[in-house]
Subunit: 135 residues, 4 copies
Amino acid sequence: MPVLEMIRTYPADITLDRDLMADAVSVLIDCAQACTACADACLSEPDVALLGKCIRTNLDCADICATTAKVLSRHTGYDANMSVAQLRSCAVACKTCADECAVHADRHAHCRVCAEACRTCAATCENIMDAMITS
Amino acid sequence: MPVLEMIRTYPADITLDRDLMADAVSVLIDCAQACTACADACLSEPDVALLGKCIRTNLDCADICATTAKVLSRHTGYDANMSVAQLRSCAVACKTCADECAVHADRHAHCRVCAEACRTCAATCENIMDAMITS
Amino acid sequence: MPVLEMIRTYPADITLDRDLMADAVSVLIDCAQACTACADACLSEPDVALLGKCIRTNLDCADICATTAKVLSRHTGYDANMSVAQLRSCAVACKTCADECAVHADRHAHCRVCAEACRTCAATCENIMDAMITS
Amino acid sequence: MPVLEMIRTYPADITLDRDLMADAVSVLIDCAQACTACADACLSEPDVALLGKCIRTNLDCADICATTAKVLSRHTGYDANMSVAQLRSCAVACKTCADECAVHADRHAHCRVCAEACRTCAATCENIMDAMITS
């Protein structure tokens, strides 16, 4: 569990619970990877011509999740406003990508797995946002 | 002007004006680079101990601008909702980074240049958001 | 294990063993996260003025590992030459970052954890490179 | 010219010529953007089924160029070994992407523009590598 080990060795205060934050970062980096892999798997499907929107949404969602994971991996000079705005964008991207992948989930197992990863990640982002707003 | 050349050769419709979009992408990738360079320049300042928040904000802003530039560089399967949410986060990040760099602008020329790049980028993001919402 | 699930649903041939590749991608994204977190933890240390090189090396290593993870997450149109060159750069970055973090490992637990993650990642990169060259 | 302004305000020594470095960073971020845009343009082409390898190579090259631009944007704690290894990988990626895009340049203007950007970027990487090795 390198994410958890790293956050436990952070030498100053963190506003939010460390285990909660470590879990969120893990979910985000896994979702980023799933979206990168799903975009690539789509490129090798015989019906790739029908998957243009799915590939594009996967690529956006991968970039947005990776960036959000980096924002949540930093605790120095924490600014709730900036973190919440990025989490909000990430929740939108994950829901949009989950919906788009769900359209193809019956035909493509990678879209089914990716839709689940995006659904989990959207819920995680909203959970952390709530914790940030109320802390 | 490679950004402009690339968008002019996009083979399908784009909802927004191509010159406006190319300009926004250029502003975003320049701002991402300025924030990466400002974080690094801060690391070489004798008063680096006072620049922790500035470096962290620069790193977040660099990641967020780079991701937003990629989102705006894609036109296939355009989803206004996702693009607007990311632009909104980017505008917040750029304003926050501009304010933080402005604190150090008198002592550090790189913070002054970076604050200007962030201010320009925040305005550009809001401009594109408005165009997306009203289109 | 989302990385493993995603690679198992890739719909075409993969030259290398899928479990080996999934493990490598996991190690790479964990190392990228560790380096991002270590750079940030260094910013909150009282002796940050001595950690400039460590922070910079962490930031480079984070970017290089994240990019290498994305390259290894794609299998469509595989080009061994490109993948091996990026893995070689990643192995150099991880060894350099492990050495730099090791200098501070006695004083900073995050540098110790990060050095271990980098050491593991360097070995993983060399292992995959060998598998690619001999396949 | 924000790249040039930023490097001119870096407060410590830089081993290589600042104008040369600024030019290289500009070429790298433009190439990354061109590859991102070319991958997306390919997704909207009627013959997308023939462009799988081109899209994948574009995505890899975009990630590798963006990472290389960040490495060259940092000067604190410079390590020639690490920078040269990443530049070497970037030169390979750019040449590979230029060759792949050139295959489609007659039919797709975005592949022609992107091939040129990649060719320029490969030459720039080799030029900087030479300067680093001999300095």
